[in-house]
């Protein structure tokens, strides 16, 4: 029965790559863009949302200017990642998955950055890795830019 279904690889297979491109451009998936993807891929909007919301990569709200990703890999966990997350949450006054009201920071966790030797570690804006962290070091990382942001506002 499953073999009989007529599937068209050309259109539907582009769904996730298209969503990735959109997120690349907007930082999240705006609703109108998802509707467009549905039309282009020949699926319904609910399917697009169903797929998008299934994958950790996609977001539905605008993202902060600085994206903080806390590694939740095993090595990081046993070296104290939960404390690191808590400290950042306290420093930024947001919870995991949220964005600060001034759109300065978005705090996320990530399955594994892959720097297990540097555990526990975080990555900011997909490039700056801070490793072998302690709560104290975290406070220092967020102290400076936060103050700048406050000054600016």
């Amino acid at each position: 029965m499953e073999a009989r279904q007529v599937l068209s690889p050309s259109k539907k297979g582009k769904l996730i790559p298209m969503l990735q491109q959109i997120q690349e451009r907007f930082g999240y998936l705006p609703e109108e863009e998802m509707v467009k993807v549905a039309q282009l891929c020949g699926v319904t909007e609910s399917k697009v949302f169903g797929a998008a919301s299934f994958y950790a990569q996609f977001r539905f709200t605008p993202i902060g200017r600085n994206r903080v990703m806390v590694c939740r890999g095993t090595a990081c966990h046993v070296q104290g990642a939960p404390q690191i997350m808590e400290t950042i949450e306290r420093e930024l006054s947001i919870k995991e998955g949220q964005t600060t009201p001034d759109l300065e920071y978005t705090l996320e966790s990530v399955a594994c950055i892959g720097c297990c030797a540097l555990a526990p570690c975080i990555m900011i804006n997909n490039k700056d890795v801070h490793g072998r962290l302690t709560p104290q070091k975290v406070t220092e990382i967020f102290a400076t830019p936060k103050r700048e942001a406050q000054d600016a506002s």
Binding site: R4, Q5, V6, G42, T44
Partner: protein
Amino acid sequence: MTNPVSDVSGAGAILVTGSNPTENHPVIGYRIREAVRTGARLIVADPRRIPLVDVADVHLQFKPGTDIALFNGLAHVIIKEELEDKEYVENRTQGFKYLKQIVAKYTPEYVSAITGVPAKDIVTAARLFAQADSGAIVYCMGVTQHTCGTENVVALTNLSLLTGNLGKPHAGMNPLRGQNNVQGACDMGCLPNVFSGYQPVHSDRDTGTYWRRLTKERQLEQVGVGFIRPASPGETITSIEFNQPVPVDSVSDTIRAKFSRAWGVELSDVPGRTIAEMFHYFPHRRSRIMYIMGENPVLTSPQAELVREALEDMDFVVVQDIFLNETAQYADVVLPAASFAEKEGTFINTERRVQRIHRAIKPRGNSRPDWEILQELARRFGLNWNYSSPEDIWNEVRELTPHYFLGMTYERLEKEGGLQWPCPAIDHAGTPILHKGKFARGIGQFSTVEYRPQAADTSGGVTEEYPFILTTARKLYQYHTRTMTGKTDGLNYLLDEERMQINPRDVQALKLTPEDMVRVTSRRGSLETKIEITDCVPPGIVCMSFHFAEPRVNVITDPAVCNMSVASGVKVSAVRIEKI
């Protein structure tokens, strides 16, 4: 429908044209989507982006009124690529060589120029349809409600014949009837020229209309007024080689005699008026007394203003209905009828299936089932009617229409979940698929039709003054004139007002905002409406439904009729749109 509804599910390819099943025949819409899911190829030929387009392989978005060119174009590709069912064409049809000649010039490029459909889509669609194991054609008013409606059907039938799709499962020509018993009304003889089972009343069973037969020479004076367009020589009918009328004088005489004997009355052979003729443009050609049972022509007829005038002008109007509808306002007497849930009887659905309905509750107040009212009246006219139940009436229908219904007793209908006509004997299983093995007339006739552009001065002709084409449609959440759906709060909640569909590009060009009202003016009349901005309609085309009393789209539609079927060409009207 030549084939049953359930047949759609297994079709190899489906061509849907001039029909929006998911809104107007939703359950058939489910079947089509189901077919697509299990591998059917779907071709949608429609000026609008109807919901089915979402699952279609090809959407042939042609300009309204260019149906014939498109269908001939498909035939052209099929013949050119030798995709026709050669054995079928050879053994079961005639006239192939004429068709071949006629469609020769309808190359994809030529058709593309007329219809606006990309040439490659025409080729793809033709291949998809012709190469499938079975191809079903599903159509509706979008094909027939044109001044060339019959010719559209002819061109479509050619496709079905070419590909050998008439008379086999999962295929066929499948017009979808809009109302629960429109098929039954026709089958029962509620047409001027036939008794039940299409038994002719008089010899001219062709396109002859009351008016034309009586005053043939005076037709020409009507040219330009456009109420009924005449068949001027060489324009339409004469170029069609379709069902040439057979001389049936002796046949109709015999039939009239049969009914006359059975009913115990003398029967006239004067052709009757069609609906359009009853409300004729000229008062002296109208009927003087109207008996209207369960209809609302004030809303449904094209150029509705004329109908209203005609009704006001008449000597006496009787309306028999379950609600005091818009037409009833013009009645002198209103008779309260029982609804479908309050009586026994049968309906015939679009696939020719006769099915029983049952009385679930008693009639409201003093209302009565229509058949009882009719019997009461008949008796007052001195007719000797003695029906004790709808079953009595049905048995009379069976006896007088044996070739269609003889085998269909109430008992069988009940037990077998309905039967599809013809069912001429008590041991006959009914006929799910027409034309199986053999056509009713013996051999399938290819008929040739040519595309004719809309003249600029006709209602559909687009000019600078009337740059838009207005087409009409129905919507999911309402039904006809809302006499029934308008009584369900939830349906009104989901769709509570008319909004004319218009493409965003036109909106931009006309500098409209979503809240704007517009005035829509045709050569017939004018109305004001809100708009719905949507790319369901292409630029240059606007669409309205006729569900609402206000704005009433039929005040501006074209009442010009098809010369053969006398269906109105409400699908194409040239209009102009102004912001208010």
